[in-house]
């Protein structure tokens, strides 16, 4: 038991920096790619965009009242469903963050 602990510490000291360096080298370009996409796609709305968003919401409601949903293609309907599902998933992520537990509430 003490032997295994000693070997573990030895391995950490000798191979740890190399493994950490390899992990950093592996993740840096991938993180860069992720950041490149996230900067455009995942950012929160700027204050300038909020009126635009409200306008598009009003346009959406108006088109719903006008009955445009009857003429939407299956491809568009599928795409809209996917987008709506993604928005709903953000709610569940917020719930996980809020209750500070991955599954279930800790009472």
């Amino acid at each position: 038991m003490a032997d295994a602990a000693r070997r573990l510490v030895q391995n950490l000291v000798t191979r740890g920096p190399k493994v950490a360096l390899a992990a950093a080298n592996y993740s840096k370009p991938r993180l860069a790619t992720f950041w490149k996409y996230a900067r455009v796609e995942l950012t929160p709305p700027t204050p300038k965009e909020i009126p635009v968003a409200v306008e598009s919401l009003k346009g959406l409601i108006a088109s719903f009242k006008a009955g445009a949903y009857k003429h939407v293609t299956v491809k568009d309907a599928l795409r809209n469903t996917l987008v709506a599902t993604e928005v709903v998933m953000w709610f569940y992520i917020g719930e996980v963050i809020g209750r500070r537990s991955l599954i279930g509430y800790k009472v």
């Binding site: 790619t33 909020i50 709903v88 953000w90 709610f91």
Partner: protein, 113 residues
């Protein structure tokens, strides 16, 4: 056997080309090259951005506040009331048990007393 006709892959010194790798096997350099050619980042509509971030932040915070108010004004008083009733009933039960024990002690007849 027709001579002179050798299949492409069998010529000496010929390097056999493997098919292009699936995207997850490419190195980051190749992937970056591909991403320049392939998919630029998508411009997300502001409506979707606002919906996402309000679903992430506003909705859980709102429900948290509402649940807090509900707990304070409704559930906690009920729980206190139930605990009070439970304490009273426990007292009554203890009284009855005490009386029953005393009766039992008084009524038992044994020659060992």
């Amino acid at each position: 056997m027709t001579s002179g006709v050798v299949r492409r892959w069998a010529r000496r010194g010929d390097v056999r080309r493997s098919p292009p790798s699936p995207r997850w096997l490419l190195s980051p350099g190749e992937k970056d090259a591909l991403s320049v050619i392939m998919v630029p980042p998508v411009q997300v509509s502001p409506l979707i951005k606002m919906a996402r971030y309000s679903a992430l932040l506003v909705v859980p915070i709102e429900t948290h506040c509402l649940c807090f108010i509900y707990n304070e004004d409704y559930l906690k008083p009920i729980a206190e009331e139930e605990r009070r009733i439970e304490a009273e009933e426990k007292k009554k039960r203890d009284e009855l048990e005490r009386i029953a024990k005393q009766l039992a002690e008084a009524n038992e007849d044994t020659i060992l007393k």
